[in-house]
Structure formats: C-alpha cells, structure tokens
Subunit: 214 residues, 2 copies
Amino acid sequence: MLSERDRLHAFLAESVVAHLGVVVGDRPVVLPMAFAADLAGPDPGGSLYLHGSVAAGWLDRALGAPVCVTVTELDGLVLARSGFHHSMNYRSAVVIGTVRRVEDSSERRRALDLIIDQMMPGRAATLRPPTKKELAATAVLAVPLREASLKVREGGPVDDEQDLDAPVWAGHIPIRRVAGPPITAPDSRIRSAPHTSSLAARGGRPGGERPEDG
Amino acid sequence: MLSERDRLHAFLAESVVAHLGVVVGDRPVVLPMAFAADLAGPDPGGSLYLHGSVAAGWLDRALGAPVCVTVTELDGLVLARSGFHHSMNYRSAVVIGTVRRVEDSSERRRALDLIIDQMMPGRAATLRPPTKKELAATAVLAVPLREASLKVREGGPVDDEQDLDAPVWAGHIPIRRVAGPPITAPDSRIRSAPHTSSLAARGGRPGGERPEDG
C-alpha cells in the first residue's frame, strides 16, 4: 500500500508539465513549464526544480517569494445523470513554497539533467555538457517539496438516488496521453529514433497502443 | 489563414482543463478546473466561464480580483542535440482579467451548459435541468476574454550549428490525448455508451486510434 507521499512522488515522476503561479505586483501569473522533482534534493522534503531564461521577467519576481506549482493530469471525463455531478478524473499535485535560486554548480547541473531526463529517461547522459554560456543564460530554481499535496478523483459518477433511472447514459471515459512515432530532424546524423516505450511513464504512452482502461 | 484570435478561440474550444491562478493573502494559488469559453458572452471580448462550489475558499477571494487562467496542451517533446535546446511543443492560452460573479439566471444556466458541453458536445441538452438547490450550491464566474494570448511551439529542435554532427538522435515526439472505451456505470439504465469520436475535439481522440503526426 503506497502512502500519500509515495503517490505524490510517483505522480511527479511521471508528469512533464507544471503550472507555476507567481504574484507579479498584485496579480497572479500562471505559466506552464518543464520541471523535475528530486527527493534527495537539499530542500525540506526534497526539491522541485524549474528552469528558465535569466532574461524572463517573472523570474526575479519569483525569487524568495511564495509560489504555487501545480501539476495536473486529466485521466477521464465523468458523465453523470445530472449536470451537477459531472466531473473529471484527474491527479493534481500542488506544491507551495518559497523559491530558492540554485547557485551551486553541481546542483545546477544535476537539476538541468533531471529536467531533461523527466522528458526522456537517460537522455541527459547522451548529451554534451552544457557550455558556460548556456549555464550563464539559464536560471535554475528550487521549491521545497515539504508543503505538497496530491488530489485524485477516479472512477465513475456519483449520482443522486432520484436520478438513477434517468434515461441518459452514465459512466466515465478514460483519457490517456500517447506518444506518436518519433519524427527525426532532417539534419539528424543519427536516424534511428529512441523507443517511445521509454516514454510510457512520462505522461505519454507508446504510439498507437491502446491505453489500458480501468 | 486563421488570425491569432481565431486560433485562440479554436484552442479554447477543444481543451478541457484550465489552471486558475488567484492571489490569496500574498500567495498565489493555482487550481485545475473545468471551463468553457463563450465568444458571445457579455464580457469584453467574450466570456470565459468557471464554476465552483459556493463553499470553496478561493472563490470569494477571486471575486473582483485579478486572476490568470492558463490552458495548456502538451503536443510533443523536443529532443535537441544539446540539453539547452530541449523543449516541448505545446499550445498555451493565458487569460488575464477580473472575475465577475454571474448572477443572471439565464446566463448562469447557459454557462453551466457550456461547461458540460465542453466535456462532451450536446451532452447538456440530454440532462434534466438543474434544481434550485444545485444552482444555489454552484458559483459561476466569468473572466473577460479581451486580455488573452496564445503561445504555440511546434516542430522539431533548433540546434546550434556546431552541434549538428553530434552523435545523438534529434527530433520530436508528438504527444496526443486519446479517449479510451467508455466505462458504463453499473447502475446506468442506458447501456449504450456515447461515441467517443465526439471527443475528438475535446482534448481526447477516439480510443486506440493512431494519432496523426506531423
């Protein structure tokens, strides 16, 4: 039996897009971005890493400020017998904390590698190291994983008793991400694409495979 | 040729999950939720509708306050020859505005129907009308669509010239949502499930069908 914490970690390991919320002036700004979680990271509860261009305007505003990082996967549509009980199946992690700028060079390298490996496991080790110029242009941010929660809705609709005989179909429709066949860049020297089966746990499943439902 | 505004509207019509950012105290909160856009809605530029339980804590905080509604679809992973140029293909709409609570009863009904039809086109017309109690428990919020933008990244990696001969595969991997076979509720009187082909444009594609890539 997985603990809620284990479920949260497993979910963060298999999703690829986070929505970062920061306050700019008195206004909220919500931006999609790549991320990676490192349970062994130096922040309390582990570290959630984000990166961005040092030129990005939101970045300086986010430093030392409270942020909210929300990671959501849609798992299905729930069609009830009343509009009121329509819903969605989903998993959604919410991480709240203060942003730390990662300055240590080995932690920066590790965080950037983790963000690449989040997209495709093992990818970072196949690439040349980043140049000084690239590193200087990239800000790496960390948010502690301590204040984090996972909300999950799954299964079919929950209807009111008086609606059970309604002449309308009730149930749920599972939704999954699938990865299509890789498209090799025209100028890629290596022509054999990676197996997309390695994406099975990255929010995408192998192309054309029927998703398991249940 | 579609205008940027047309593209934004088309994107909002085919996605099902929004991330709402609100400021609570001095902290941002980002929550996933269902939504629908009504280009004919009474707000400047049309209306983006959200709904929630009147008991939800964030709701009162959001009224009259600036919010940010971000809708993102991940379309692919972009694997470059350097870590620096790794990226994702995506479409992301950002709507910024002040939340209005919808009080007019016909607008409320229309907004709730639109949110249900966003999940499955035509579904709302097959359901009984909401009860007074259900309506009283539901807050409907509107955000003007005037201040909205769509950001799109598509295609393959853009590598630095000196990396072009690197011995690593470069390209992109399309990612799509697919809808699996519907799962009928055990107590559903109607046993024949809706055609998931009607979900093709709702962020999901018919189950098992190979996504078109390109």
